[in-house]
Amino acid sequence: MPPLILTHLAPHALAPFALAQLIEPGSFTDSTTPSLLDAVLPSVLNWMLFLPALAGAICFLPGVSRASARALALLTTLGSFALSLVIAFDYYFNQNASGVAAVTLKPWIESIHANYHVGVDGLNLPLVLLTTSLSVLVVLAAWRIEKATQAFMGLFLFLLTGMLGVFVALDLFLFYLFFEVSLLPMYFLIGIWGGPRKEYAAIKFFLYTLAGSICLLFVMLGLYCLTPAGTANHVNTWQLVDSGEQDSLISESVRALFAGPSTGLHGPTPAGPYWLHAQAFFLLTLVAFLIKLPAVPFHTWLPDAHVEAPTPISMILAGVLLKMGGYGLMRVTYPLFPDAARHFWLPVATLGVVAILYGGFCALAQTDWKKLVAYSSVSHMGYVTLGLAVLTRTGFDGAYFQMIAHGITSALMFFLVGVVYDRAHHRDINRLGGLWLKFPGLGGWSLLAFCAGMGLPGLCGFVGELLVIFGTFEANGQLPGTIPGSAGSGGFMGAATILGLFASLGVVITAGYTLWMFQRVFMGPERPEAAGYAPITAREYGIMAALGMAAVLFGLVPLLVFRLTDPTFYALASVLGLN
């Protein structure tokens, strides 16, 4: 059981500061005995995962009214959120049982060794929480959708199961299945409830992601065929987490198959038998996940999808679906092929930096508000690519936190765009203006959202960017391809430093387009047509407040995330040989 919080508060001279003790790592280190909760956790996880699909199916039954579909969706997402919180609390306070928790491992399709293997660890738990919490807000944001409400809610709930499944699956086959399953509902949600060019955007999204999935499928089959030599029982495997060693992500011997040549302390080691395969597989999975992320040059589906998608779908698309790309890199690509990652670090990191700057410049050129936010997503996700590519612990933590932070801020930004669009019926930045006068509250929350997006310290956007850039500078001299003669902590003009310098330029561009947009939309004299705009409802303010306060909370207390991720990242760092 999670220990009662209050009894653990250290008596402290200044009580408010004592709250901070709560989040100190190691303040709750007592529970070593397996608890009753541990026994039911796997079923809690399974309920959390399939409850939405179940409810989604009910939504499609004949005779379900709009109101009941809404209520059912809200209750289901709340229930799923509550269940994920139970898992998270247990994980947060019982860190000694690190590694993977709430595991269900059942044989599924035995002929191909595919298992039903789900569980949480530090790598997926924060994203699970992001998904479940955001889905509650998305249902609220979709409250006023009148066109086939039942179908909308049903599809959204299917989508939720798909997304959660991607995160909690610990078997590559299952992962792939969920990865595909999440595609279809999204296709319909954009294609039916979208804007004027919805069919085009939906099919583009679908085909683009499908192209990535094929890359992934190819790698899956290859892996399956090659693994017997590396597993203990000499059988093919899809396992993403080695069930034998709790704190290692995948078994050492499987990884050894794909190892590259190295010059270690004990003399040079030859490459593993499948080193060439490893390089190809790395690149293929990289493309699969970079499309999802999306990274330049695979990003052009994103602006179209966002512009056409209805507001709640944009929120979930930016908030969660993009994270499946980053998560896939951290769960599949990097742990499986660390040596290939090291081999290709420079081009990948360059892609990240290009995305940061290129996305920023494209955002600067937009007049469609939603497209601007979409390009800003491209720019922000560039930090994820960069943070992973430089292979430092700081960079990894930064990339991960950037995903969480972007999940919060981008969802909020897209919601704000939607709130304005519902009233103005257009998104042309040049034709908006003076909204702060009309809606002071909206202006205030928007300011907070865009400041968080700009990476202002104290808000959530800062931490990720900071750590990523930091990690990049740290990588200097540690990776191949750094300019010779400048190795070591003293050298300062290695490739990593140059990349870091360019990445930091991103902060100025971000400030540029954010302020330009904020000025055009919210400042300036009030427009006459704004007189007819409906007031902002309590429901809308509630969604803004929830996301806005999350942006502040995670900016001030990023430890809420890092405490969950720390043990798993520790293991990951040793697997990857992070610096």
């Binding site: 001279a13 200044l14 500061f17 901070a20 989040i23 100190e24 583009k204 085909l207 683009y208 990003h299 052009t300 410049f361 494209c362 600067l364 050129a365 937009q366 700081t394 933590d397 003076g434 006068l437 002071p440 509250g441 300011l447 202002l456 310290p457 104290g458 800062f462 900071l466 750590l467 850039i469 930091f470 500078f473 740290e474 200097n476 902590s489 003293g490 300062f492 870091g500 930091s504 330029l505 902060v507 100025v508 400030a511 540029g512 302020l515 330009w516 000025q519 919210f522 400042m523 300036g524 004299p525 009030e526 001030l556 207390v557 990023p558 430890l559 890092f562 990242f569 520790y570 760092a573």
Partner: protein, 708 residues
């Protein structure tokens, strides 16, 4: 009264709380008037705590107090914790002291504005960020405060956000600052990668050790083969400081920032935020000493800015902009002062700069606020050419502004006189030392004296123009700068503001008349806090020269590089220089004032003749050397164009390739489509060909098998 030193960690949180209260007040109309008292009281509480703890500070400083863990991962940890030493206390005194007075004044000045609560929420947030900035124990927390004050500055410059000029100015301020901040952040990254920590205490200690080694070894820092990156750190940090403190080349945002409400100009853009750059260098002096070139460059940039801005101030006609350029110029003095500290020279602390920062906060806040009073009573009029001889109408304001002007001009025995003199003496002393940059410092000494003359002249040009001569004025167009309100709200608020001033002389012209007639402002709400500021502007110098509070404080802080012993003869010589500089700067101030009196009070036609004679120069100065236009043509437009080009590239090339890839399967399908035209004969023909082909293959392979 003494308080436990630990109480000091409450100082930032009280204004933070007030900011939250203010935020709630913005949304609830009924609570609107709560925002101002919450703001004032929270800052005042900070001031009281600062005074209460200050006797405890020198005993064992620096002390570090941890509030909570902020970012903590495997090999990187940053806490929310506070670093307290006398320099912190001096800064806190300025921030909370001036802050309280300005907020008090603003509670009257802003009355009746629709954004009343928003204003105080933002001011509270600003004080929070500013106190974090000066109390930060590590460079990242400092950066948090640094960006936070930038944001508040943005919000408050753009306070009248339906005025396009205000919005543009706010954006400009933020982006120019962001450019500086980028370098600052890079400086922090480099500091971390070299010292493996961002904690101030540790960084300063390591940098100090490095310096001592260098000094002992007697080698130039560029010979530091092992760590060339270290010498870059001060230059990066310096650029950050230049941005925040509006020095060349990042100064152009500050004059535009005057679009904000006047109390904001006084608090943020004169007394506190813009001095953050000076604080940064003073605080990190050991880091800046890592490169022998860093501090001389700081001093040179400071001197150049001081002179440059002073020349622009000569020909401006907007009262607030004159003060803005004057602020840039005075900040230049501070940078000169902080740069006149050298590992090779005789002076070893940033006392002069911090001293000037302290006194400048008082007199410049006073000047801005009295300008605000003039603006308030002339319905937003700020043009020097449209007012004259107002001293009869506004006697208290005219005396208060006179005090501020005297201090700014460095009139003998005012506070500005003492602090400016200390900087000049430091610079001249450096010029006479055996430092390799002695010539530079000598030139800077001359620049400093010339600027002092210009300062006296432009300051009194303004004062004589506004308050002496024939009484004439033209009312401004808006309700006391409260543009967003429209006149009604402004008027209502104004009457309210006038309610408690019954004892005042000029109050005869009651509010009914106020749109047509200048008048004295409310005493309790607006003039009383100014009197406190005036006392500071007049007396701070005398007080400091008697007690040496700042002097002793700095010597026990990180702004002190105390490793060069002074000999007795050095000390005596220093005293001589000091006295000489006092004589020179005192008399030059009087000459400047006298000239201004001649051209702008006693014989105005002469002044106009001089202006006509140099009309070309006046035009250039009037247009601020055309820097804004250059900036637009060389930076803003090219970047915009780049963005447009990249977007075209994105939609045509990158998306084009995607479309092409999408088109290929369709093209393939189309090329095969004729074979599926749906006619039976066609299919039959195809089938026959296929069967024949299969038959041939089968027979051929059977034949092959039979042959073996």
């Amino acid at each position: 009264m003494t308080l436990e030193l630990e109480t000091i960690k409450w100082i930032p949180w009280l204004p933070a709380l007030a900011a939250v209260v203010g935020g709630v007040c913005c949304m609830r109309k009924s609570m609107r008037n709560l925002a101002a008292p919450a703001c004032i009281l929270s800052i005042l509480a900070g001031f009281i705590i600062t005074l209460g703890v200050q006797s405890k500070v020198t005993v064992d400083s620096p002390r570090v107090f941890k509030a909570f863990t902020w970012i903590h991962i495997e090999n990187f940890a940053v806490d929310f914790s506070f670093y307290v030493d006398p320099l912190t206390i001096i800064m806190l005194t300025v921030i909370t002291g001036v802050g309280t007075l300005v907020a008090w004044y603003a509670s009257g000045y802003m009355k009746g504005d629709r954004g009343y609560a928003r204003f105080f929420a933002a001011v509270s947030l600003f004080i929070f960020a500013m106190t974090i900035l000066v109390m930060a124990d590590n460079l990242f927390l400092l950066y948090l405060g640094w960006e936070g004050v930038g944001l508040c500055s943005y919000l408050l410059i753009g306070f009248y956000y339906n005025k396009p000029a205000a919005v543009a100015a706010a954006k400009k301020a933020f982006i120019v600052n962001r450019i500086g901040d980028l370098f600052f952040a890079l400086g922090i990254f480099l500091t971390y990668s070299h010292f493996h920590t961002v904690s101030l205490a540790e960084v300063l200690r390591s940098a100090g050790d490095l310096n001592t080694n260098l000094h002992a070894g007697g080698q130039g820092v560029f010979d530091l083969g092992a760590a060339p990156s270290v010498v870059v750190i001060p230059f990066l940090l310096m650029l950050g400081a230049f941005g925040k403190s509006a020095q060349l080349p990042l100064y152009m945002w500050l004059p535009d920032a005057m679009e904000g409400p006047t109390p904001v100009s006084a608090l943020i853009h004169a007394a506190t935020m813009v001095t953050a750059g000076v604080y940064l260098i003073a605080r990190l002096l050991p880091l800046f000493a890592l490169s022998p070139y860093a501090l001389p460059i700081v001093a040179a940039v400071g001197g150049a800015t001081a002179l440059f801005a002073a020349t622009i101030a000569l020909c401006q006609c907007d009262i607030k902009r004159i003060f803005a350029y004057s602020t840039i110029s005075q900040l230049g003095y501070m940078f000169m002062g902080v740069g006149a500290v050298s590992t090779a020279g005789p002076t070893v602390s940033a006392t002069g700069a911090i001293y000037h920062l302290f006194t400048h906060a008082f007199f410049k806040a006073l000047l801005f606020l009295t300008a605000g009073s003039v603006m308030h009573s002339l319905a937003g009029q700020l043009d020097l050419r449209k007012m004259s001889g107002l001293s009869k109408k506004m006697p208290i304001t005219s005396v208060l502004m006179l005090i501020g002007c005297l201090a700014l001009a460095g009139f003998p025995f005012t506070s500005g006189f003492f602090s400016k003199d200390l900087i000049l003496a430091d610079v001249v002393e450096m010029g006479r030392s055996n430092s390799p940059f002695a010539t530079l410092y000598s030139v800077l000494g001359i620049v400093g004296v010339a600027t002092a003359f210009l300062t006296a002249f432009y300051t009194f040009r303004l004062w004589f123009r506004v308050f002496t001569g024939p009484e004439q004025y033209e009312m401004g167009s808006d309700g006391h700068g409260h543009e967003e309100e429209g006149h009604d709200a402004g008027k209502a608020g104004h009457e309210q503001a006038h309610a408690p001033k019954s004892g005042e002389t000029a109050s005869a012209a009651i509010a009914v008349e106020h749109h047509h007639e200048p008048h004295e402002v409310s005493f309790v709400l607006m003039n009383l806090p100014l009197i406190f500021l005036a006392i500071g502007a007049l007396g701070a110098g005398l007080w400091e020269s008697k007690f040496g509070w700042i002097h002793h404080g700095i010597e026990t802080s990180s702004a002190f590089l105390g490793y060069i012993p002074k000999t007795a003869s050095d000390a005596g010589e220093a005293h001589d220089i000091h006295f000489t500089m006092q004589l020179i700067s005192g008399s030059i101030a009087i000459v400047g004032i006298a000239l201004a009196a001649w051209f702008h009070w006693l014989n105005r036609p002469a002044g106009e003749r001089v202006a006509r004679a140099f009309s070309g120069l006046v035009k250039v100065l009037n247009n601020k050397y055309y820097v804004d236009e250059l900036n637009d043509a060389l930076i803003v437009r090219p970047l915009r164009t780049l963005a447009d080009v990249l977007f075209v590239f994105d939609s045509l090339i990158i998306d084009g390739i995607v479309q092409l890839v999408g088109f290929l399967p369709r093209a393939l399908g189309m090329s095969l489509r004729p074979s599926q035209q749906g006619e039976l004969q066609g299919y039959g023909l195809g089938m026959a060909f296929g069967a024949a082909f299969v038959l041939i293959v089968v027979l051929w392979s059977l034949n092959l098998v039979a042959m073996h």
